[in-house]
Symmetry: C2
Subunit: 422 residues, 2 copies
């Protein structure tokens, strides 16, 4: 058998198992799905020794291959992190049932009763990199919402992912739920991906989570609908009528609290009217926080130690302690700048002016728009969605933080007494 045939057979096998599992899950009661999650949590906890041993193998290989300390840290599991993962499953089990909600209900033509009801999507493939907790989090969210999932993790975490997925599936099976509800792609060959992403009859949704390269590749290859979790080029706009102390506090929070995440800011827009007053204070605070500044021609002279920004800076996701600063004439210019250069993730205005704030909140076309708050709140937990699959940068189906409810679609149920269309 050629390698291609081998990969094809592996994909065929996974796809063949997924749909029956999805059909079985779709009609399971909430109690059964929650019991399955609790059994999975218990099984993962009980497999601790096995999981940590597998993780040690991955870490050893990572060190051999010279992966960065940051990468190794993302990969590492320890008893505390594993307890956190187990706790996450419990929290997902505790969320309200996203399935079977009546979204709309009305009497339509000829007195037919129509209800629009949330139902699982079906089979969901998650393509992700490095962090092994994603394996369990996404499996739990898929099960909570009645979906079967196909998980394809990164090569670095292969042993950890296998141990975690095996324990999770054993837990499900012990609660009478088909173990095929959670399938891990065993084969690590990259040539498998296009074969998997061609199966639009068998897989209903693909969620890529990871770097830009992975996401681009999935979008280009996939015939299956994709909800992507792409980069965040976020900004804050300090309006002329801003409380400048508040502005400085929020900039520090949005830039420095965790610079490596997608809802941290990369750009700061400052109203022309307050440049002379605000920028020197900004320079002092940013220097204290160790933030490098790149500024446009108007701002640079007022920001000691800043470098000149080029146009590409406005669309760059630094993911570190660098901040690009630009002057804008007014709210309209701030909106235009944000819509042009930002990635439509999370952006905010700091202003005490109701009219300016309303124009900004309406005009900025991002998944989350803020007034007088840090962009760092864009997160399923913070938004009250429970655990999250990630933060969608799609405009369709799900936008922004994506929870279990976003893993549902709907159907129309129409009940009559013999009505025919005339």
């Amino acid at each position: 058998m050629s390698n291609h045939e081998h990969l094809q057979q592996h994909v065929d096998d996974i796809c063949r198992r997924a749909r029956p599992a999805a059909r079985a899950l779709a009609i399971l009661d909430d109690d059964r799905r929650r019991a399955g999650l609790r059994a999975a949590a218990q099984a993962v906890a009980q497999a601790e020794a096995r999981i940590l041993a597998a993780n040690a193998e991955d870490l050893a290989a990572a060190q051999d291959q010279g992966l960065s300390a940051a990468m190794c840290d993302r990969l590492r599991l320890d008893p505390e992190r594993l307890a956190g993962i187990v706790g996450d499953i419990g929290r997902v089990a505790g969320q309200p049932d996203p399935v079977g909600r009546v979204l709309e209900e009305r009497t339509i033509a000829q007195d037919l009763q129509l209800r629009k009801i949330s139902v699982p999507i079906g089979v969901i493939a998650i393509i992700f990199e490095s962090r092994p907790n994603v394996t369990v989090d996404t499996a739990a969210l898929c099960l909570r919402s009645g979906n079967a999932c196909i998980l394809r993790g990164g090569k670095e975490a292969v042993h950890s992912n296998r141990a975690l997925a095996a324990a999770f599936a054993e837990g499900l099976a012990s609660a009478g739920i088909p173990a095929d509800a959670v399938q891990l792609v065993g084969e690590q060959d990259r040539a498998l991906l296009p074969l998997l992403l061609a199966r639009d009859q068998d897989i209903d949704l693909v969620v890529p989570r990871g770097g830009e390269g992975l996401i681009r590749a999935v979008v280009e290859m996939s015939r299956i609908p994709v909800v992507k979790h792409d980069k965040g080029v976020c900004s804050l706009y300090v309006h002329a009528a801003a409380d400048q102390d508040m502005a400085l506090r929020l900039i520090v929070n949005a830039k420095c609290q965790r610079p490596g995440v997608c809802n941290a800011i990369e750009n700061l827009l400052v109203d022309e009217a307050i440049l002379a007053q605000f920028l020197p204070r900004l320079a002092t605070v940013m220097a204290q926080e160790g933030v490098r500044l790149r500024a446009d021609r108007q701002c640079q002279p007022l920001l000691p130690g800043s470098e000149a920004a080029s146009e590409s800076d406005w669309s760059t996701e630094y993911l570190d302690l660098t901040l690009a600063v630009a002057a804008v004439r007014d709210v309209a210019a701030a909106i235009d700048f944000t819509n042009t250069y930002g990635s439509g993730h999370s952006d905010g205005i700091i202003s005490a002016d109701e009219v300016a704030a309303a124009a900004y909140l309406r005009g900025v076309d991002s998944a989350a728009v803020y007034r007088n708050a840090s962009t760092r709140f864009t997160d399923g937990g913070m938004f009250g969605l429970g655990a999250e699959v990630g933060i969608s940068t799609n405009r369709l189906h799900a936008r922004g933080p994506m929870g279990a409810a976003d893993l549902c679609t709907y159907k129309y149920v129409v009940e009559g007494q013999g009505q025919a269309r005339s």
Copy 2:
């Protein structure tokens, strides 16, 4: 300039104009959008002579090329049909505003106020065949929901589409709305399609409407999210506890009233318990209606004049007066048959039994599931959505009849008093 360069330039030009128009539309008040639609309706009505002359050119070309009478009929406009199209625009203008609805509202972490608000998707491309009314209907629905649209119609209707789109855009411009809000792709070369469908930065959604070939091609080529309007292989299931008179009436309606549409039935499932009693009556009624029957081995002997069905019949969209008939053991078998062979469009059970009906409505995974009613009701107008973009066979974003509200996405608006994430 090579043909490829010429097409590329045409696509570049269209894409460059679309986003600014979408940004302008997104912040227009409802009154302005409705005024734009009324002006467009008036402009289309006033351009009657020009539009009918253009349509006559298309019809002459169609007859020269030997298009079928049915195709020519779909292409034909007359004063009455044009008045219908104008009336449709008015009805879309009269629908409630789908933009700016507060979908969710709650207090989240640290007393932040969160609202989830419906907003336009942005730029929508509609790829369609033959019927010129689609040009105007989809332009009206896109404008109603604040979206810019790029329309690509069929070659047969090129003159009609140009005249309609030009009148529509003139109407918009007269009401102060950017004419680029509605752009018709002028170039008919099929090589343009892949160039257009690669522009995922400029176009947010593609809706293909037409035959299977068109839809498959769009899904395969597109990097842009697709909501497809694919075929309907629909069924009715006559349960053992059915009112058989009602069943016969509904079968006649669902099969015969308009056999060429996607919500007509192709399959009939009959409970084993009532074969001997029900099938002879079915045969008589179907013969009166001129319906040809293809039946499985259990049913064929009880259906005089029927042919033997093969497995491929169960997944065939006949679009004519042919009906495939199969016996099923019970509700579970009916559900399984429908989920296996149907296209997930519209399916129904006829039964007086509450338990059986509930199991069917829950278990059948279709966009619309019916009890004791004809499947022919699956339609935006009938469901109370107003005019429809079509009937989505996607599971994501929009499923089933798709109205103006389904041309919206949402954003989260978060307002605070200086909250930073801790």
